[in-house]
């Protein structure tokens, strides 16, 4: 039987990595160029990356008991809070990066 909480852990990992990629591609023209080169549009590449990360991490967590044990991936209370914290932190981070970008012209 699959542990329900593992999907929250996968989502937290995906959102953290995607959020870091979003912030990094705003700060680095090279990374932005790379993302554009992959699919033709940076937004499409970030979307595809998020989908691929979620599927991969979910399969990895579902398939490996040792990773689940190490990450305490069965603790739903822990991972729901981590997911909320990561989402809020990344949302505010993105807003801050674009605000600073706008202010600095």
């Amino acid at each position: 039987m699959r542990e329900p909480a593992t999907f929250l852990a996968s989502a937290a990992f995906t959102i953290f990595t995607t959020g870091c990629t979003i912030i990094a591609h705003e700060l680095s023209a090279d990374l932005r160029g790379l993302l554009v080169a992959v699919t033709g549009h940076h937004w499409l590449s970030v979307s595809a990356l998020a989908a691929a990360l979620f599927v991969t991490s979910s399969l990895l967590l579902a398939g490996s008991e040792s990773i689940r044990r190490t990450l305490k991936a069965e603790d739903i209370a822990l991972w729901s809070r981590v997911l909320m914290a990561v989402t809020m932190f990344m949302t505010l981070g993105c807003l801050m990066v674009y605000t600073i970008h706008y202010i600095s012209g």
């Binding site: 959020g19 998020a50 970008h101």
Partner: protein, 310 residues
């Protein structure tokens, strides 16, 4: 009788506000959003009465009736307000889908409230009352999104409209999940699963794919240049940039929530409070994200419309 008098007083207050702020569609929208919140509350108390979800209040029937009457006042008030705005512009009242949906909501409300107050034996009418009670919040969401679209944009872009309506219905599905976890019953897990699948489908197909297609094909070439050339360039540079990227988190959250609920068993859902609490927390966060996207989208659309008109 006191409920009816309170409802009529509420209607008078709303009509008075409509008379003072008759040019402002935002006040009409605010009245409609309050009506939507009351419709959800009325559906929840109705479900408590039937035992579909566990009630915490001792007199649910009294609460349900009082909310129903207030909801009727807000729906009628919102419709009077809408008619007033249309008359100000000398537009035919039922020429738009928004107006026709408003009329359907009004008929639905009359069918809900009048027999409930007049009929003593309501046994034969309960089925229709239940179906209408669950349908009304969904129709109100569609009509509110449609009205917001008309208010913010001068033209109807059906893809953007579908994107907004999907977001509104997904928000309703997240509210449904929150209610099922707050007031758990035997059948609650099954219904929460249906609500979570609906939320995932709406977020992925209606919001992610439809919104993304519009962003890639229309927004970048038509709307973005107009916003940047207009008086509110920050609407694109801060809000739209943040929205288009933060939005990507939402399908991931909706999917993880769906899978979490799907793999949950009845024993843990009913017996372990930690699971229900975690699901409710994630659904609340998803709901907040949808509302944030809605607000950002409305501001960006308004800035785009202002830029295109200039």
């Amino acid at each position: 009788m006191p409920d009816i008098i309170a409802g009529l007083a509420l209607l008078l207050v709303i009509s008075g506000i409509a008379a003072i702020y008759h040019q402002s569609w935002t006040v009409h929208a605010t009245v409609a959003v309050i009506a939507l919140a009351l419709a959800i509350y009325a559906s929840a108390t109705g479900a408590m009465l039937k035992g579909r979800i566990k009630g915490s209040s001792t007199d649910v029937f009294w609460l349900h009736r009082r909310i129903g009457v207030s909801l009727g006042a807000f729906v009628l008030g919102s419709i009077i307000y809408g008619i007033w705005i249309r008359l100000q512009h000398a537009d035919p009242i039922l020429s738009s889908v928004h107006g026709r949906l408003g009329l359907i909501i009004l008929i639905g409300m009359v069918l809900q409230i009048v027999p409930s107050l007049v009929k003593k034996d309501r046994a034969g009418y309960r089925g229709l009352h239940m179906v209408l009670g669950y349908l009304l919040p969904a129709i109100l969401v569609i009509d509110s999104a449609w009205g917001l679209h008309i208010g913010v944009m001068s033209e109807t872009k059906y893809l953007v409209l579908a994107h907004s309506i999907s977001g509104g219905l997904a928000a309703l599905a997240f509210v449904w999940i929150i209610l099922e976890t707050m007031y758990p019953t035997e059948m609650g897990l099954g219904r929460a699963r249906i609500a979570s699948f609906a939320a995932s489908l709406l977020v992925i197909a209606g919001c992610w794919i439809a919104g993304g297609y519009n962003y890639l094909t229309d927004y970048g070439s038509n709307v973005k240049p107009a916003i940047l050339a207009g008086g509110y360039p920050w609407a694109h540079q801060i809000l739209m940039e943040a929205k288009e990227h933060v939005f990507i988190f939402l399908p991931i959250i909706a999917l993880s929530l769906s899978l979490t609920i799907y793999y949950l068993d009845d024993d843990r859902f009913a017996g372990d409070r930690r699971y229900r609490r975690a699901i409710a927390e994630i659904a609340c966060m998803a709901l907040l994200l949808v509302l944030l996207m809605f607000l950002m989208g409305a501001i960006v659309s308004k800035a785009g419309n202002t830029g295109l008109e200039a």
